[in-house]
């Protein structure tokens, strides 16, 4: 009987359950996506040369767990508020508390486990899709990436089920300890926005202080090492929360006093916001944090992407070297429109390869040599025969030769000595194009044709910028991928957090919008009001998130060529676009709920 009653409640509220389910499914899918990378040791080892990345992932894991905790807390209170009335009614008609407790517990767990399992399945699909898209569009090479990774699935399931068991007990206590009548009439009460100047001032000061500590430790990561990331995470989350808490109330009370509040539905929108203020400060702080992490990850990912050709350009001053070019290869090189093309002649002796010094004096060989402490900047040097033999960078010349020559010493000889050698003369052609990345397809063909003629010439034995690019790309692909992947995962998490929070209040808002329509508010004005209200909730954490990112990027200055800030408008723009789409979707769903 009671089970039947519970089921009818379920049917009546399928729309609310849909919001609840989709929120939970998204959350567990994203958690799985993250864990699929974070717990995959082989993938991390293979794809990152920087040991800190593994640590960053562990911190990310902890952070995501905390967020999940809060998220499930919200989901659960949503579920609870949805069922309160129904269960209150059951109690009034005389159902036993024990029986009801059982039902609540079962329902919570059932909802949780179903959503988690679907979420994990969705998560592995998303992992597969997203990694394919990223690999194809960024030209990445990745190894050991598995969309289905059992340890990740297990971690996700255990965490979520554990949390739902706790939530179930919480619901059991909350519902059975409350008198039936109170359950029936538990409605949202407005909390009068209060100004407590002293307390809020203290909040602002502590908030600013802890955010400054966070920014400082991110800027000094080279000294603080791992502890710096931990400090930054804690202080920035705390500071953001305190600032939101203090400033949000002020802002609305202030805005309400302006003439602006007397225009159209502005006053209504402000009241809506202040009505929710306390509920929203927590979620806004979290969203600001997620926003910063997502935007930061994408920016860093893009930074690495930009990094690859820069690093590759530092490996050699020439794209490729080819011994004894065929006429076909000659034509291929010509088609690439090289900015420099030089041919050196040589003869191979028993122990050495002999080059004519005069040729090098007439056409100096260019090398790239690192400068500065970080060794991340390069200078072009042109070396004649004598300088080249003494230079540390002479290996850059050696690598451009064929596989046989690379085994032997390079010797510069005079014109006379060269003529006296009886071996046949051979040619080494070196060239450089404008852009190794843009020309990579043609360069690949050229390299393949040469590797066919010289079988020992494989992989890194093939010197020059082209193989340098391939090496660096392989090295950074993992980092790039993680940046984009995490950025998108965090963004999805953020959006579903915010969307969920906003939509869970929509049912309560519905009667207010109906009421406004009854007293003669135009539909266009209602639309504007809800657009504004949701926009505020999206923009506030967005601004704070951007500020966090701008400071946070400093962390990466010691592993990047140049400033991590160059060209950040692009990831910011992409991110803003994605964020806007989420905003529009939220408005659309919300509108459908409140305006029918």
């Amino acid at each position: 009987m009671l089970t039947k009653l519970a089921m009818t409640g379920f049917q009546k509220r399928w729309r609310d359950y849909l919001v609840l389910f989709s929120g939970l499914i998204m959350s567990s899918a994203i958690f799985y996506m993250f864990e699929a990378l974070a717990t995959n040791k082989a993938f991390l080892k293979q794809n990152t040369s920087i040991s800190m990345v593994g640590m960053i992932f562990q911190f990310g894991s902890v952070l995501l767990t905390i967020i999940t905790l809060v998220y499930i807390g919200y989901a659960n209170s949503f579920l609870l508020s949805m069922r309160k009335r129904d269960y209150g009614l059951f109690m009034l008609v005389g159902a036993r508390k024990g029986k009801i407790g059982q039902l609540i517990w079962l329902e919570t767990l059932l909802v949780g486990i179903t959503a988690t399992i679907i979420g994990i399945a969705l998560g592995s699909l998303l992992t597969m899709g997203l990694s394919q898209v990223l690999i194809n569009s960024l030209g990445l090479t990745l190894h050991h990436l598995a969309a289905w990774y059992f340890p990740a699935a297990l971690t996700t399931l255990l965490l979520y089920v554990g949390l739902f068991i706790i939530a179930g007990f919480f619901n059991l206590i909350a519902l059975t300890k409350t008198p039936a009548l109170k359950l029936l009439h538990s409605n949202d009460q407005p909390n009068r926005p209060k100004l407590k100047p002293v307390r809020q001032l203290v909040e602002v000061i502590i908030g600013l202080l802890s955010i400054s500590i966070g920014y400082w430790s991110m800027a000094n990561l080279d000294k603080l090492q791992l502890a710096g990331i931990g400090i930054a995470l804690v202080t920035i989350v705390l500071g953001t929360y305190l600032l939101f808490n203090a400033i949000f109330v002020w802002l609305i009370v202030l805005l309400k006093r302006l003439p602006f509040a007397n225009r159209g539905l502005n006053g209504f929108t402000l009241s809506q916001l202040s009505f929710r203020i306390r509920n929203y400060t927590k979620i806004l702080a979290i969203v600001a944090m997620l926003f910063a992490l997502a935007l930061g990850a994408i920016t860093v990912g893009m930074g690495f992407h930009r990094q690859v050709p820069l690093m590759a350009n530092g490996t050699s001053a020439y794209d490729m070297g080819i011994v004894n070019t065929t006429s076909q290869q000659q034509a291929q090189i010509k088609a690439l429109k090289p900015t420099t093309e030089t041919t050196y002649h040589f003869k191979i002796g028993k122990k050495a390869v002999y080059y004519r010094a005069s040729e090098f004096n007439a056409q100096p060989f260019a090398t790239m040599s690192p400068v500065g402490k970080t060794q991340l900047k390069f200078k072009l040097k042109r070396l004649d025969a004598q300088k080249l033999t003494k230079s540390y960078e002479r290996y850059q010349f050696g690598q451009l030769q064929g596989s046989a020559q690379q085994q032997l010493a390079t010797t510069m000889v005079s014109e006379q000595q060269y003529q006296s050698l009886t071996q046949p003369e051979q040619r080494l052609t070196v060239f450089v194009t404008k852009d190794v990345v843009a020309n990579q397809a043609a360069l690949k063909k050229l390299a393949a044709s040469q590797q066919k003629r010289d079988h020992a010439l494989q992989g890194q034995v093939l010197g020059g910028r082209y193989s340098g690019y391939q090496m660096v790309n392989g090295m950074y692909s993992g980092l790039e991928f993680m940046g984009f992947f995490l950025g998108i995962a965090f963004l999805a998490m953020l959006a579903s957090c915010l969307m969920f929070k906003i939509l869970s209040g929509a049912a309560a808002d519905q009667h207010r919008y109906v009421m406004l329509a009854k007293i003669g508010t135009r539909t266009s004005e209602l639309n504007n009001a809800l657009r504004k209200e949701i926009a505020v909730l999206f923009i506030l954490p967005g601004i704070v998130g951007v500020v966090h990112v701008l400071f946070g990027l400093k962390m990466f200055s010691f592993i990047m060529i140049g400033s991590p800030y160059t060209g950040i408008w692009l990831p910011f723009l992409i991110f803003a676009g994605l964020y806007l789409i989420y905003y529009l979707i939220t408005v659309q769903i919300y509108r459908r709920i409140v305006l029918q």
Binding site: G264, L265, G520, S524
Partner: protein, 252 residues
């Protein structure tokens, strides 16, 4: 008293349910007029179609057929912005469950119709204060609805309905959720507003006591108007007795 009708209702029908599915005819041809400045009551048992009728008259729902005019303007086919503007300017509502926005203070609730029309801020404050002091709620203006009693809430709702000086005021069982003292106060208030500001009032109720404040009562039964009572020069007590007698025969 003027005899030009402020509202005319002609052959109004309402059928719930789509063609083909289970249908229920709630209104079966309603005809009557309300004169400017009149205080008219509509009485009937629960389920007789009172709310349905009021919703048609107050533009909250569309009739299946028939015509309603308010201030010579046909209203049954109003849509979109014209409908919204008509509601905002020409009519006011008071509902049984108050329908106040609990996120806003009494002041903000009352001012809402004015801010919606972008009335100058300078004019809003005196207007709200005037209507509030008239209705005896001046001291509660900064309270939120959950800090007010039922009677106070209903007076705030009345203030919101009146601030635009509507041609017609509609009430659907406005005393339904009030104790008898608050109900009496609200009804006295309606009488005063009706007399002093010449606002036409249409009150829907199933309660004879509330109905006794009206000048004319239409009895509705099974979707039709069955009988009409005029108060004329009777005292309220005598009119009340007459209503009770009428109900005794009418409801059988």
């Amino acid at each position: 008293m003027s005899t030009t009708p402020i509202m005319t209702v002609t052959d109004l029908h309402k059928t719930y349910g789509k063609a083909g599915s289970k249908q229920y005819e709630a209104l079966k041809g309603i005809n009557f007029n309300v004169n400017a400045g009149e205080f008219v009551g509509i009485m009937g048992a629960s389920g007789s179609g009172k709310t349905t009728l009021l919703n048609m008259l107050a533009t909250l729902d569309q009739p299946t057929s028939g015509e309603v005019t308010i201030n010579q303007q046909p209203i049954t086919h109003l849509k979109g912005n014209r409908l919204a503007d008509f509601r905002a300017k020409e009519i006011g509502f008071i509902f049984q469950d108050f329908n106040l926005l609990e996120t806003m203070t009494a002041y903000e609730n009352i001012a809402l119709p004015l801010t919606l029309q972008n009335t100058a801020a300078k004019k809003i404050k005196p207007a709200v204060e005037a209507v509030a002091s008239h209705l005896g709620i001046a001291e509660f203006l900064n309270n939120y609805p959950n800090e007010l009693s039922g009677g106070q809430k209903q007076r705030v709702a009345a203030a919101r309905a009146l601030i635009n000086e509507p041609a017609m005021l509609f009430g659907d069982e406005p005393t339904g959720a009030l104790d008898s003292k608050s109900a009496r106060e609200l009804l006295d208030l309606f009488t005063t507003i009706n007399r002093e500001q010449a606002v036409s009032i249409l009150l829907v109720t199933h309660d004879p006591f509330s109905a006794s404040y009206c000048q004319r009562i239409l009895f509705i039964k099974d979707g039709k108007i069955g009988q009409e009572l005029n108060r004329a020069d009777l005292s309220r007590q005598d009119f009340y007795q007459q209503i009770l007698d009428t109900l005794g025969t009418f409801e059988q």
